[in-house]
Subunit: 256 residues, 4 copies
């Protein structure tokens, strides 16, 4: 009955285009957004095995072996959604359905993998004027909210506003308001196949959001929450069983 | 297959204490909050039969005959929750479980009937400083949201903020933000027994909220949504059927 | 505040392959499964405008003009899911997100459109041995359950069993059991974009399920439930509004 | 960021009336239903601190000190619901809202505490004819389902059937079918206040259900799932904060 006999295995994926091409973004994230996220997870989950992967890596760093060795994948993308290979997206999709946790961040709402899992446009309102975002907890006993102040204050951030065109979430953990008055369901959970999915909206590349301690804790909480109970194997499959397929052989007893 | 062979029968209940004792409130609501709500419903639901009832009426105006003749009950209370007779609350509770719709308004979050249906404290944050409330639609195809602008702007209103201690709603139709930055799940739906329940938070007695056209439409939409498909009869009951109780007599065919 | 100023416009889509190629199926459904479904809807929704469309029609009968004139689309497919043109699927998807209701039937769980909307494998267990299916209502006040006996008894039907790999439904209306002991969430609802989606599992081509009165009423109830409040226009779109975009001009008042 | 710095503290409550008065029940459960449950939890959660309490104990064994030292309470009752003191029920209710997990078993669906938390009749169908119950998993990645076969087969058990009059569950983990054809949502989750609630229907006193290994694992999984992240303190409370109450003092930085 032990959970995770192995250490939690986390892969942080980032397209890493802003940081590679815009010095002002590289100044905020000198090791990339993925580097800042990985650093934060390492602080809070010291026994976890954390790797990073980016768009420029072969197969975007998401080859079969890496995904097979990943319990939870974090995804940050923005400018280069279209450059993500469909075969890689299909592979990630299959792994999520098989049980791998997925944490989609900020502009990742428009990533191929998130839209494929949601089935909707995932559109929203946005305005990038460095507004204050207040992230309120509306499910205070949810594991992802543990230890997070309500509100979590992000001094400067891009506004994301409703209507956010996603399916009805299984759970709403956080709702944000912005200085301009908009609201946004900023922390939402879904189950897809055997995998747990968490979307968390803070984190525009122009602000040091992933350096903020409370945000790091949200991500660490989410990684633990999204981790599968057992090693992901295969997505659910169709079956055509004979009648009474489930009846136990009389020789095995399930009663102690 | 007709819905509601009779006209929609609505009862608007209001404790009517502020209006009776505070001239400045009576100035806003000369016919009472119930009067303003009933007027709005009458405008938008011209075929509905609308009555009002208040705390001072015998049995608070909610005797058996009235409830048996009510499809949807609206509830506004604040100062006098404790003066509502427990027997009346039990009667309303039973009618909701039997299918009567219930729309609970603003400070009614602390009413006996709402707390009994929720099973939680129903506590929240509040601050009465005439802040602007923006009511955002997050379920735009919900019947209660039909024709409502997003945001619906209420110029002056009491702030209600999270954490709002209610069960996970079946649906979240509206989320509000306030000038001070707080957010609130301001339009939420529940099913309890055979009855549909809608809580809508705008409507403090100090502001003319129930005179506002969009708010009136929310309430009219909600009344139609909460109405039972058929006349409420009894709450669900325990049963102890014999095996195969449901098998049709061979002589009756269900296939055309 | 009127709903559906026009008559309810329904399109029944069926691949129509079994009926065209297998005489024993054609004997059960001489006008096709679509014909039987359309007949049932016509009986119960006499003012509705009902058309049918099949795989063999140009653009599968789902051209732009037809979809623009459709409030609710019913979908039956089985053998020929792969023959449905991706462009047509994309068009149906867009219409659902814009508000068109969609009712997916039986083996349609593996249709391209349903899998695209769900984001999961939609796999399940099946066994075709003419078992009795009992369809139990677990949300008795849901509009789709109105007037439906619990259990609804289908004397002979293919077994569909859990685990059914779909997202957590917004609502579970029906749960079935089968003679062999399996259970199945046989009536489930979702919202996708502005569109309402209902999946109903009874209806294998080998049994006269769509001739059964109670099943016809489920479909008629579902068509009314899934209909949009207003004519579908466009899916939700991304927006980039300036601050205070929502503030009303002072000259227009929203207070009556 | 460690969970549960202390061992998991579990209290198993049982009215213990059948076992005390009916020899044939005592033969099945010589240490009481609570004894069998506690034994099973002890096997699977070896580091947990497990105590039992019964109706006959002073304050039913649920005094303030005991509840303050309880992370998760299991509840089995049947004949003696009415003998449970209202003050004790109110105390348990408050602790659940403050974060204590609650697992309600079988006939506990009619207990005062469960009905208070649900707000509905909690009625259902029943028939005690030793039918086979098949417990199917419909949320296979839920922590409570981990390691549980689907179906879990209970050879002899009382039938509980739909319609089960409870609020829409936050999650449905298990759905059962019975030899007679009925279905039942047999494993369902709720959040109430800060507390997690799980209802699990198998476990009539006439059958050795709590000796069955898979059932014991369900309860152990549920105890771990229901445990609060932090020690329960107080239920959510009303607040009346000044504007900007949440703004951090400039001297404390939340950015690392």
């Amino acid at each position: 009955m032990t959970h995770a006999p192995h250490a939690l295995r986390i892969t942080v994926w980032n397209e890493n285009v802003h940081e590679s091409t815009q010095p002002q973004i590289a100044a905020i994230y000198p090791t990339g957004i993925h580097g800042a996220i990985a650093e934060g997870l390492g602080q809070l989950l010291p026994t976890a095995q954390i790797r990073t992967a980016t768009l420029a890596d072969p197969e975007h760093g998401l080859d079969e072996a890496t995904l097979a060795d990943t319990d939870v994948l974090l995804w940050w993308g923005h400018m280069a959604h279209d450059q993500v290979d469909d075969a890689v997206v299909a592979r990630v999709h299959e792994r999520v359905l098989a049980g791998m946790g997925l944490i989609v961040l900020h502009s990742g709402h428009f990533s191929k993998i998130f839209r494929m899992l949601m089935g909707t446009t995932c559109s929203l309102l946005w305005r990038n004027e460095a507004e204050r975002e207040l992230v309120w907890g509306v499910s205070p006993s949810h594991p992802i909210a543990e230890g997070i102040p309500s509100p979590l204050i992000i001094d400067h951030q891009e506004m994301y506003g409703e209507y956010f065109d996603v399916p009805e979430p299984d759970g709403v953990v956080f709702i944000s308001s912005f200085a301009g008055g908009e609201v946004f369901r900023s922390g939402i959970t879904y189950r897809r196949g055997l995998g747990k999915v968490f979307y968390f909206s803070p984190g525009d590349q122009e602000y040091p959001v992933y350096h903020q301690a409370e945000v790091r804790r949200v991500l660490a909480n989410a990684a633990r929450w999204a981790a599968p109970g057992e090693t992901p194997q295969r997505p659910p499959e169709v079956g055509n069983p004979a009648r009474d397929w489930f009846v136990r052989d009389e020789r095995e007893g399930a009663v102690e």
